[in-house]
């Protein structure tokens, strides 16, 4: 092992023993939280720590495992050492349950990579009758679990604070993964057992789901009192977000029509200023991080943000900086800028014209963007990043021209005053990916020629000096295919893995040829998955209930085409179907 560690990049990813890591001990039930990406990515993820904590709080064992980089993975394989957990250094096979966190579609092959390295057969069918851990998945991607249905025994849909550990307790009571166990867990909200549900096809079209019936997502209504790890492991090597994280809110009031997170995490739930302050202080005290990040989908919408910032400033040591990663331009205030001591600010207008921003319900005006930029510049910022999407429904050249115009205006704004540094303006244009449980879930994705045309347009027309980056065509296509895919894709994911595809989310490791060959070998045209879907059609994820009505999505889609803004839930309830469960629907915006 020592030789292998010294030969690979960043050996500290694989040695465990992090300061503050929960002391793992074998227990009555042994859970390993698996993250299908590198250590430094996974260690930044708050969700997996919450899930692990929910097991620890019940006196059960929880350990972690991350996908090893290819150099170490190959080394393990050659040495015949099965993939092991970080703290106990135990083979994954020895646990009772492996829980994979599915954060993005392009991590799917890494699930197979980890199972394979662990010596666990990839599919449920191959594991049948064998003595293997339960293979489970959670995280945002499980709202459409079908493309991975062949590989998992259980999918957790929705909030992971309690259901995962509830399943563990039923497992212990039933003495293993018995029929009774599956019957009992199927009755829980947030549990989907793919073995018990079958999509039924008639004439090549999905006609119904046989078996379990609708699966409701798990919902934690009291976020303030929910499980939260106040002590977390300090990563051995620098992680992508190397800081303490508190979760200010879950859910978002805004309802941007392309945004899956904005719908699947509804309703908005918050933590109190007192709880957040306590959690931030405990985290800084136990980890020694120098920064606290205030996470949510839109931290500017936290009604008591000023109070919270004041409370945190008062309670934390003076050198601790606060990061507000998800501020909308309209909630940006110069004050935060001065606190953060950062040089770069990021805004996401998403679309270049007001018309298209109205279409996507991105309720923000150019004036607001410019005002926020002006405030930032006056506060000393000299770098601005702008995020846009290309290929949104109804987009034309006029909208692309709008992107260029915003850049011109920001440049003029910066040049309007004497500033010590030159402006650095970067623009990133991702290709729109239609996602399940959004008003755009039926939309088509633009094809290769259109992507090329739009990217070329921006390369040609963006003002000089603007740094432009864009996403490659094929990975965005693949993301769209997997996001809206059905069960038939399991075999493609497997074929891609067998062709050597892993770490698909990493530009430098993405193997387009491997994926194309996988689709070809399975006789599936990937482009057929990104066509427009009919609103009357049954969609592969329709058996999942995230409590937002399908009709609401369809209405929102129509409003999009009419260019009508629906706006934020803060301006009144939009009756998305969630009303009974939503504090905001009762007018309780400030309640916790």
């Amino acid at each position: 092992m020592r030789k292998l560690l010294l030969k690979c990049e960043k050996p500290s990813r694989y040695i465990g023993g992090e300061y503050g890591a929960p002391h793992a001990q074998w227990g009555k039930f042994n859970f390993c939280m698996c993250f299908p990406d590198l250590y430094e990515v996974g260690m930044s993820n708050l969700g997996i720590k919450i899930v692990a904590q929910s097991f620890l709080d019940r006196g059960l064992c929880a350990d972690f495992c991350f996908a090893p980089a290819r150099d170490f993975g190959d080394g393990l394989k050659k040495a015949g050492v099965p993939l092991y957990s970080l703290s106990l250094k135990a083979p994954l096979k020895d646990f009772d349950m492996l829980g994979f966190s599915l954060q993005y579609e392009l991590s799917y092959t890494n699930v197979l990579y980890m199972l394979d390295l662990a010596g666990i057969p990839l599919s449920r069918e191959e594991r049948r009758g064998g003595n293997y851990p339960l293979i489970a998945a959670g995280g945002p991607c499980t709202v459409n679990p079908e493309p991975l249905a062949d590989f998992f025994d259980i999918f957790f849909i929705g909030d992971g604070e309690s259901t995962d550990a509830d399943v563990a307790e039923i497992y212990m009571r039933c003495g293993g993964a018995t029929e009774e166990f599956y019957r009992e867990i199927s009755a829980l909200d947030g549990v989907y057992v793919p073995e018990h549900t079958f999509p039924v096809y008639e004439n090549g079209r999905l006609s119904s789901f046989a078996g379990q019936g609708k699966v409701k997502k798990a919902l934690v209504s009291d976020l303030d009192g929910a499980v939260f790890p106040e002590r977390t492991a300090v990563p051995n090597c620098e992680s992508v977000h190397d800081r303490a994280v508190i979760e200010v809110m879950r859910g978002c009031y805004r309802g941007c029509r392309f945004c899956q997170a904005g719908f699947i995490y509804r309703p908005v739930r918050k933590r109190s200023v007192a709880t957040l302050t306590r959690q931030a202080c405990a985290l800084i005290g136990s980890t020694g991080f120098s920064e606290v990040s205030l996470n949510s989908l839109s931290t500017g919408d936290y009604g008591r943000l000023t109070e919270l910032l004041k409370s945190l400033k008062g309670a934390l040591p003076p050198e601790i900086t606060l990061a507000l990663p998800s501020l909308r331009a309209d909630s940006f205030e110069g004050d935060f800028a001065q606190d953060a001591r950062k040089t770069s600010l990021t805004f996401a207008p998403e679309a270049g014209t007001q018309r298209l921003r109205d279409v996507i319900n991105k309720d923000i005006t150019e004036e607001e963007i410019l005002k926020a930029a002006a405030g930032a510049f006056d506060a000393g910022y000299s770098a601005v990043k702008l995020y846009f999407m290309i290929g949104l429904p109804t987009e034309t050249d006029r909208d692309l021209a709008g992107i260029c115009e915003i850049c011109e205006k920001i440049r003029a704004l910066y040049a309007g005053k004497k500033r010590p540094k030159a402006l650095r303006l970067s623009v990133s244009a991702a290709t729109f990916v239609p996602k399940p449980f959004t008003p755009f879930q039926w939309e088509r994705q633009i094809d290769e020629n259109e992507v090329k045309y739009k990217q070329d347009y921006l390369i040609k027309h963006l003002p000089r000096g603007v740094k432009f980056s864009w996403s490659a065509y094929y990975p965005s296509l693949l993301e769209a295919v997997l996001a809206r895919g059905d069960r038939a894709l399991s075999k493609v994911v497997r074929a891609a893995y067998e062709n050597g595809c892993t770490f698909d989310g990493w530009d430098n490791l993405f193997d387009e040829a491997g994926w194309r060959a996988a689709f070809a070998a399975c006789g599936i045209d990937e482009r057929s998955y990104v066509k427009e879907r009919d609103e009357g059609e049954l969609l592969p994820w329709d058996f999942i209930d995230v409590f937002v009505d399908k009709k609401f999505f369809a209405d929102e889609r129509r409003r999009a085409y009419e260019g009508r803004v629906t706006g934020s839930c803060l301006d009144g309830c939009k009756a998305c179907g969630m009303q009974k469960k939503c504090p905001a629907a009762r007018g309780e915006y400030d309640s916790l």
Binding site: R2, L5, L6, K10, P11, S12, I15, G16, G17, E18, Y19, V234, N236, C237, E238, D242, I284, G285, S286, T287, G288, F289, S290, P317, E319, R341
Partner: protein, 196 residues
């Protein structure tokens, strides 16, 4: 200021220098030892470390200085909050920064696993040309201070700092010439005017 000697063992030998710096910063914050910050735009804690040993080389002789007014029992406070393997051995208050990176000029190591050979014969060589990790040809003989066998282990002292010779490179050369492989390399001592 406080200068302290610490270990890098029990897995900590796999931490990179920058990661170790972050760990020391965090250990100090957890321990409530307030460190002075630089006054630039990007403020950073005033922590001054000696030259890093190569990744994978264990050490019981690392040195570091921090700018602090802390008056308590530093060793106890540090060790209570430090990661496994990063433990303070000795600490002393000092007026000025001893600048360990510059003042430590040689380090002593022991290694196991290299086949027995005659150290005198090696030291008698006038020059020992090797190719370093960057592919350059260098004569390492002037950088070898001493080498000999102690309790069946190879003990050797190499220059460090400006005329640095990496112990793993040296052991690699010995493996090539005499066979065997250095399983464990441990830095046991540092030499310089400021060490304690």
């Amino acid at each position: 200021m406080i200068a302290f000697k610490y270990t890098k063992t029990d897995g900590a030998e796999y931490l990179s220098h920058l990661d170790l710096l972050r760990h020391i910063d965090r250990t100090l914050r957890r321990a409530g030892i307030e460190v002075e910050y630089s006054r630039g735009y990007h403020k950073h804690p005033r922590i001054f470390m000696g030259n890093p040993p190569p990744l994978g080389v264990r050490s019981v002789s690392e040195y570091c200085t921090i700018d602090t007014a802390f008056g308590g029992d530093f060793k106890e406070a540090f060790n209570r909050f430090s990661p496994t393997g990063v433990k303070c051995v000795k600490a002393t208050a000092c007026e000025r920064n001893p600048n360990f990176a510059q003042t430590i000029t040689a380090c002593g190591y022991v290694a196991e696993g290299i086949n027995n050979f005659c150290a005198e014969e090696l030291l008698a060589c006038e020059s020992i040309p090797v190719t370093d990790l960057r592919g350059r040809d260098v004569d390492i003989r002037p950088r070898i201070v001493s080498a000999g066998w102690r309790d069946g282990k190879l003990a050797f002292t190499l220059l460090c700092g400006e005329k640095n010779l990496r112990p793993d490179l040296f052991c690699g050369y010995l493996s090539q010439r005499y066979g065997g492989e250095a399983e464990y390399i441990l830095k046991t001592e540092s030499f310089g005017a400021t060490v304690f």
